[in-house]
Structures are given as C-alpha cells and as structure tokens.
C-alpha cells in the first residue's frame, strides 16, 4: 500500500480537477488555474489527465459542456440561452462543436428530442419490448 501512495495521491488530485470541471463547466475556466490548484505544472497535468481520461482537460471540458447543453435543450431552453449557460462564447462555435459531437445542429437535436418525447407520451409501448409490457400488464389491447 505504501509504495502505491504517491500514485494514489496523484490520482486523487487529477480526480478532483476532473470534478472541478464537472461542477464549474459553465464558468470561464482557466485550465492553468486548475493545474495550479492540483499542484502540477500545466504540461504534467495535461499529460496525466489524458492518460487517465483519454482526453486533454480542454477536450474534456468541451465534452462536458456539450453533454450539459443536450440536457438544457431537452428541457426546452433556447439555443442561445443554452450556449451561454454552458460557457460557450459564441453561437457559431457552440453550433460547430455541437455538430461535431452529435452530428446534429442544436436546433435539430432539440426538434428530434421533442418528437421522440411526444412519441413516448403518445405511444409508450413502441419503446417497451412486448415481453416486459405483457409481464407488467400494460399490453392490454
């Protein structure tokens, strides 16, 4: 256990940095500050972060912002408001990054989600395997 201590300690600092991004993604995050707080040089921090999460901190931050923007769009937040609420500076960069990750523009994603939501509400059994619907007594038609 003792010989693992330095490695575990490093893990804890990187995990805290990741959780910091998870919580503060909508703010103007300076990755240099995160590296400082985690007591790493910027280069060392980026290298360790990428080793653990497969993405640089900046790539991870973008991913978190996109995932959170999906949730806002699902809750009928406008594209402009979503863009600003998750920390992007401009609609054009938000739209481009959103499309890169999801293959859809934010407005298309929102429309697609709304259509699916409506289908789930109107015809839920389309989304439930029949064996389960029968066992639950939902398939009464």
């Amino acid at each position: 256990m003792e010989e693992n201590y330095p490695k575990l300690y490093l893990y804890k600092r990187i995990v805290h940095a990741k959780l910091f991004i998870d919580i503060h993604f909508s703010e103007d995050i300076d990755l240099n500050n995160i590296a400082d707080e985690a007591c790493f040089s910027k280069f060392h921090f980026i290298r360790l972060f990428k080793t653990i999460y497969g993405k640089t901190p900046h790539q991870y931050l973008t991913r978190v912002r996109i995932e959170n923007s999906k949730e806002l769009l699902q809750n009928e937040t406008s594209v402009t408001e979503t863009c600003l609420n998750v920390g992007f500076d401009s609609i054009s960069s938000f739209t481009a990054l959103f499309k890169k990750y999801t293959k859809l523009c934010p407005s298309e994603y929102q429309q697609q989600f709304e259509r699916r939501k409506e289908q789930i509400t109107n015809t839920p059994l389309q989304f439930i395997p029949n064996c389960f619907a029968e066992q639950k007594g939902w398939n009464t038609e």
Binding site: L8, P124, F127, F132, Q135, K136
Partner: protein
C-alpha cells in the same frame, strides 16, 4: 443468429432512488423514461459510451411479474446483496474508484489485482453488486 443484447434488467427497490444512483452518481444517460400510469414508469438508462444497451431499472412490485409473495422474497434477496448483475468497464479503475467514492458509492472491494485482471466491486442503492474493471 443472435447479434447483440439490447435490453437487460436490474431489479431495484425504488426507481426514483435508482435513477439518482445510476444517472447522478454513475453518470449513466436516461434512454427512455415513460410514465405508464399511476406509480408506474418504464425507465431505462445506458452507460455513456454504450447508447444501444438499455438497462431497465425494474422495480420489484407485486403484479404479473412477481406473484404470491414473490416480490417480497425478491426484495429481501436484493437487499441482502444476493445478485451480481454484471461487469462494467471504465477508462481507469483507480480514478473511477476515487470519483465514485467521493460521490458516495459503496464499494465491497477496492481496486485489487486478481489473476483475471484488476477489479473493484461496488453495490448500487438497492444492494445489487457489480464488478468494475478496465482494460489497461
């Protein structure tokens, strides 16, 4: 020829609490959340990088699935930690272990080297246990 698994069920004591555990602690995505009448809900989630595997969070309730007291028996078995429902994979076991512990996930076993690989065991909010490993 069977080509893939697209639904798997985890029996849970409470769907709302399971939602909190799987979505807010483990970081799974909601796939389908369909209200099916009073106190009934079809809820499936999926691991973030496996959107085509729906994990049904199936409440254990009296009804056609559990008859003649079977629901109560099943609830007791789940609470006792009888069932291990699967093996999850992560990018890095040590980091995921640290993060999930911070989020309040209970581990039966910390990351340990076994002859078959590196694994940890955690339990969900109902008592179901899972193995967690990585490919490094």
């Amino acid at each position: 020829m069977i080509t893939k698994l697209n639904h798997v069920s985890i029996f849970v004591l409470n769907q709302d609490s399971a939602y909190e555990f799987y979505v807010n602690k483990l970081g799974f995505k909601v796939h389908t959340d369909a209200p099916m009448g009073p106190r009934m809900r079809w809820l499936t989630v999926c691991p973030p990088e496996q959107p085509d595997l729906e994990i049904t969070l199936m409440p254990i309730e009296d009804g056609m699935m559990f008859k003649d007291g079977a629901a109560e028996q099943m609830r007791e078995l789940v609470k006792k930690g009888t069932f291990g429902f699967g093996v999850f994979e992560c990018n890095d076991l040590n980091a995921t272990y640290e993060e999930l512990k911070l989020k309040g996930v209970v581990f039966k076993k910390p990351p340990s080297k076994e002859f078959y690989g590196y694994e940890a065991l955690f339990i969900d909010d109902s008592g179901n246990w899972f193995s967690l490993g990585h490919k490094k």
